[in-house]
């Protein structure tokens, strides 16, 4: 197809063609086009169907504010992006786009029945229509609404693209690259400070793209912009980011930018699709411009109805005429400029309809002199055509004879809304300027300043002055040295965009039933806003939520002010009294990929592995995730399932010995003359009298008296403790201790150092453990007399330093060999070789759990849940009875914590010894009681114990220690399981095996 609406000699695109397709039809466009300009060049206005009513929609704007022209862009099955604004998507050779929300075709859409049935779908219809019968919501209405709602289809395949991230710092960050932003950046950059300027468009230049009347420093506005940007880009202290949207303004001048790196390329060449910039700036200059508003009248959403500035952009920048016989409907001067440009390019202007009674000024005069019909004091009250506007019907404001004029496009403008989104996000407060009927920046909350259109500056000359001064001031305040060396840019001529109107125009008045759209993307009409007020909504925040006005992804960039004005008029209040809704990030939609950036796949979360990971892998270990750690879970041999492997491992440890990697335990070295004093305060146990070389099982409480963590602590020297914590508790225990040290006990001379990863820890447990360890050790006497249970010695193993603990988490004789982590693998292999002589096995976390449960040793976080005291857990013995202070000592005396009937740790034996209870199952006294039953406890740990020959379980049971021998029940779907309450120690109750 030929580009029949491209005008030779107009626009700034190079003449390189690009082929693309839309809804299966092939077209030609030009390099530098957006999808929207390329479609318009081919005379295509109909590009989509609306969200709710499935009305045919066209292209409203030429920028990021586009609410209508949302299409799906498809590179391949996995790269199918829905809701892409055709006005933002740049054309590349081979681009494939499809319209959305239509079936079977864009021109004939069955869903259009919604438009006919629109009385059913009035504002708030969810809340009313679908209320009855109640049960239908879940089964009928919600599924129906969910399938009918939404726009576009997300791809089902994982996103194959990659994304990047960059933190950056600068003295001056300029948001927006129009004339104002460029001037501010120039002024700031001249002082030598670091400047970042970003703009959402492919090329900076902003409104210079279409303002044919602008001239700066003797050049036309666009040429000056490009020359200035080239100058900026060449400076070492300046970063120019195009295709980059400032989407969020956070605390302390922290601004989020989304850079689209490859969306415009046919071949991304391995580059990231998008890049997230997180910029911290000393000063921010907001140069975000203004957005033109449409007119609110009957059927104002027909394809071909378009913002005047958009039509001008398509003409002046892309060389595209949006029609051949164009109507204009306005309430201010800026649309005249569009009409004049089009007229001069040879496009027929059917008429300018001006709501004002006596429009005057140079633009109006020029229009008249070019012979354009101006119908003042009139409004457009309707349009002809459905898939494309064919005519406009005009009528005097006061009523009277209507007249229909044929058009093939209708340009509209009701004035300009300053873009205060980012200013508002920075927590600045906007104020309503009654004279110009717009919200402008008022009080600033951060170190930023607004310049140009977003600050209500109406003339180019004023904008450049303001921006230059702001750039120089910001740079100076941020530490810039000299004032700008270069001369301030001077506007030779510019355009003025003042005035306009807000709210519904003629024919869309209070009693009318026409569809005069306020919010195109969410299909909200003037009538809907009035209905919301009639139904009792008073605040604009309520009106917004009831009607969904401004709640689409365009965030109401074109609709908010109209909606507010209609609500205010209906309420009989002034606009400031009704208020403005809050602007929130993101300014335009940001992909999840950009936010997540590098954090996918292996970088989603660190995977931590111990020094013996490779060995375990080679020996067939199955791993389990414990926090970020990969831990060997069990080591199945050929033909073994998990149960068989765990049973064998448990048996082997008690029969001879086993090796277990305990490296993930948290380890903290507590050093200083006050180390013991500090330990006394952080743990319930006494430490002052613990001799160097001995260990103790310690319990740490929170202030409220509940168990926080536990672990074995060895005293290496009078002023040095080697503390171990649970694996999961490693980081928070360190923080907890550091917190108390710094805030409660700063007078103590003691320091904490994390040594979790300094030491690899190999547990050798079982009756033959000493025989395995002894041959490799030098400098330590391992005899029971010299090194009894719960002691620690320093020496060497395999010729490298070790902290050797004699301790047990199995109830059998055991050692924990600490060696510097890089030696972990070699020492493990040496111990393994010794172990083989004695038939030892490697065992994993599952066997470790079973073995400790056989002995009734708790695991904090499994058998405790943050509401368990030492007494509840049967650990009263670990509280220093003579101690007068430790964290949690007062908590322990709270009435609730000493009351009778608290849940206490007990053992449970199932009457059928083969039945293994489910962890978390509830316990009741009488299984025949009515539901809900009175639950008196729950199972915390439960396993098959190969060593005991029956199942074992630990439980927290109300008044548990008083219930020994009682029969209780664990109700399950298949019926209650009978259990007997017993001691939590199932194996070797006397503890003789610790020295066995």
């Amino acid at each position: 197809m030929t580009e029949s609406f491209r005008i030779a000699g107009r626009g700034r695109l190079a003449s390189r063609t690009a082929r693309f397709s839309f809804d299966g039809t092939s077209y030609f466009g030009m390099a530098g086009d957006t999808l929207a300009s390329a479609l318009l060049a081919n005379g295509v206005h109909l590009v989509g169907r609306s969200f709710k009513y499935h009305r045919p929609r066209g292209i409203l704007s030429a920028g990021a504010e586009e609410p209508n022209a949302l299409v799906s862009v498809e590179r391949d099955a996995a790269r199918r992006t829905p809701n892409v604004r055709a006005t933002v998507q740049e054309l590349y050779d081979g681009l494939t786009a499809n319209s959305q929300n239509r079936w079977p075709s864009l021109a004939f859409d069955v869903g259009e029945v919604n438009d006919m049935a629109s009385p059913l779908f009035s504002a708030g219809f969810y809340y009313k229509t679908f209320m009855w019968p109640k049960a239908a919501w879940k089964n009928l209405y919600e599924p129906f609404i969910r399938s009918a709602a939404g726009l576009g289809v997300a791809p089902h395949l994982p996103d194959p693209d990659h994304y990047a991230s960059r933190y950056a710092h600068c003295e001056v960050l300029v948001l927006g690259g129009g004339a104002a932003g460029i001037a501010a950046a120039l002024a700031a950059a001249e002082t030598g400070v670091r400047v970042i300027i970003c703009d959402e468009q492919a090329e900076l230049g902003g409104a210079m793209r279409y303002e044919a009347g602008a001239a700066i420093d003797g050049e036309d506005g666009w040429a000056w912009s490009q020359a200035s940007v080239a100058k900026l880009a060449a400076m070492d202290n300046v970063t120019v980011l195009s295709r980059t949207t400032a989407f969020g303004y956070y605390a302390q001048n922290f601004v989020g930018l989304a850079e689209r790196v490859t969306e415009h390329l046919a071949d991304p060449k391995g580059l990231p699709r998008e890049r997230l910039w997180q910029v911290r700036a000393k000063r921010v200059i907001l140069a975000t411009g203004a957005i033109e508003r449409h007119m609110v009248f009957a059927d104002n959403d027909r394809p071909g109805v378009m913002l005047a500035s958009a039509a001008r952009t398509y003409l002046n920048h892309y060389g595209v005429a949006v029609g051949r016989n164009v109507g204009v409907y306005t309430a201010n001067d800026s649309a005249y400029a569009a009409a004049l440009d089009l007229k001069k390019a040879g496009v027929e202007i059917a008429a300018i309809v001006d709501l004002r009674d006596n429009p005057a000024g140079p633009l109006v005069d020029e229009a008249r002199s070019l012979g354009i019909d101006i119908h003042h004091g009139r409004g457009v009250v309707g349009v002809g055509g459905k898939l494309r506007v064919t005519s406009m019907t005009i009528q005097p404001k006061a009523g009277g004879a209507a007249r229909t004029i044929p058009v093939d496009a209708l340009l509209v403008s009701s004035g300009w809304t300053p873009s205060v989104h980012l200013f508002s996000q920075s927590r600045g407060k906007v104020v309503f300027d009654d004279a110009t009927k717009r919200f402008l920046p008022g009080n600033y909350a951060q170190d930023c300043v607004s310049v140009g259109g977003c600050n209500g500056s109406d003339s180019l000359a004023a904008t450049l002055d303001q921006a230059w001064a702001a750039g120089a001031k910001a740079a100076r305040e941020a530490g810039g040295k000299a004032g700008p060396a270069a001369a301030k840019p001077k506007a030779d001529s510019g355009e003025n965009f003042v005035g306009g109107m807000l709210g519904a125009g003629p024919g869309a008045h209070a009693d009318s039933t026409v569809k005069a759209f306020v919010d195109f993307q969410n299909d909200v009409t003037a009538k809907d806003i009035r209905l919301a007020v009639r139904e009792g909504m008073r605040s604009i925040e309520h009106v917004k939520r009831f009607t969904t006005n401004g709640m689409a992804t365009d965030q109401g960039k074109t609709s908010n002010m109209h909606g507010l004005a209609i609500a205010a008029e209906t309420l009989g209040k002034d606009i400031p009294e009704v208020g403005l809704t809050t602007f929130r990030a993101p300014y335009t939609p940001v992909t999840f990929g950009t936010i997540v950036n590098h954090g996918r796949g292996p970088l989603f979360d660190p995977t931590r592995r111990t020094a013996t990971h490779g060995w375990a892998q080679k020996h067939g270990a199955v791993f389990e995730d414990v926090g970020q750690w990969k831990r060997a879970w069990y080591f199945p041999r050929t033909g073994e399932d998990m149960h068989a492997a765990v049973n064998r491992e448990c048996r082997t440890v008690r029969e001879t010995a086993g090796l277990f990697d305990a490296s993930t335990l948290g380890k903290i070295e507590v050093v200083g003359p006050d180390a013991a004093k500090f330990m006394e305060l952080l743990y319930t146990n006494p430490w002052e009298k613990l001799e160097p070389g001995r260990c103790r099982y310690g319990i740490m409480l929170r202030e409220d008296g509940f168990i926080y963590d536990d672990g074995v602590v060895g005293r290496l020297a009078p002023d040095r403790f080697h503390v171990t914590t649970t694996t999961g508790g490693a980081a928070r225990v360190m923080n907890h201790m550091e917190d108390y040290l710094q805030t409660e006990f700063p007078q103590l001379d003691v320091w904490l150092t994390s040594i979790s990863e300094q030491w690899a820890v190999i547990a050798v447990q079982g009756p033959n453990s000493r025989k395995i360890v002894e041959p490799l050790v030098e400098g330590i006497d391992l005899s029971d007399e010299a090194m009894p249970h719960m002691s620690v010695r320093e020496g060497t193993i395999c010729g490298v330093p070790t902290r050797l603990f004699r301790m047990s988490f199995t109830g059998d004789r055991g050692f924990e060999v600490n060696v510097p982590a890089d030696y972990g693998q070699a020492v493990w292999e040496a111990l393994w070789a010794e172990g083989q002589k004695h038939g030892a096995c490697a065992y994993g976390t599952e066997a470790m759990h079973v073995l400790r449960a056989e002995k009734g040793y708790i695991i904090v976080g499994q058998d405790t849940d943050g509401t368990v005291t030492p007494n509840d857990a049967g650990l009263d013995w670990a509280i220093g009875k003579k101690k007068t202070d430790f964290v949690g000592i007062r908590g322990l005396t709270r009435p609730d914590l000493v009351a009778q009937g608290r849940k206490q740790l007990v053992g449970l034996k199932t009457k059928d010894s083969k039945t293994v209870l489910e962890e978390g199952a509830q316990i009741v006294a009488n299984p025949r009681q009515a539901i809900p039953m009175t639950m008196i406890g729950h199972v915390t740990s439960s396993y098959w114990s190969e060593n005991c020959g029956h199942s074992i379980a630990l439980a927290l049971l109300a008044g548990g220690r008083e219930r020994m021998g009682e029969t209780l029940y664990v109700p399950m779907p298949d019926g209650p399981i009978e259990v007997e309450v017993c001691s939590p120690v199932f194996f070797d109750e006397k503890g003789g095996r610790l020295n066995g």
Binding site: T607, L776, Y823
Partner: protein, 186 residues
Amino acid sequence: MAKAAKIATAERSPIFAGREFSGEGAKIAVLAPSHRLALRAPEKSLAALSKALGVKLPVAPKSSVTKVSRSALWLGPDEWLVIDDGGKDPLEDCARVRVLHSAVGVSHRNVGISISGPRAAETLNAGCPQDLSLSAFPVGACSRTILGKVEIVLLRTAEDAFRVECWRSFSDYVLTFLTDAATDAA
């Protein structure tokens, strides 16, 4: 116990030894093992400790002092990380010092990673929020900071070179992150 002579000495297996990545703008390499000391001490002890260590412990935030192959990195008002690449253990040097301090050996806790090249700073800035311009983070500057989701200690060793110190089990993440980031920064 006459067996002593027969015990084979355990071989050291530094994690990811030799792993490296050469990108267009940045080269990333795992450094050879170093001696490391986590040192905590009050101000009054600094003179004696500096003397024993042979390097003057810096007191300015974000600064380090390097003498021959030993560097002392300021991490906090009473905290230093001492790194020795010359084979001499600073823990032993502190063992003889009687003034109040805490010296804990952490040679195996950390892994050192070098990142060098014209885009080294940009590579780090993919996940490190610090201002790494030469004016804010000059040669010798150091900081305990973050890279993506993990904690690191960062030291600038030259205008275009940094040393990253992270805990052993986080080194896989750090290396993967830096490699990913270096590809983009180029």
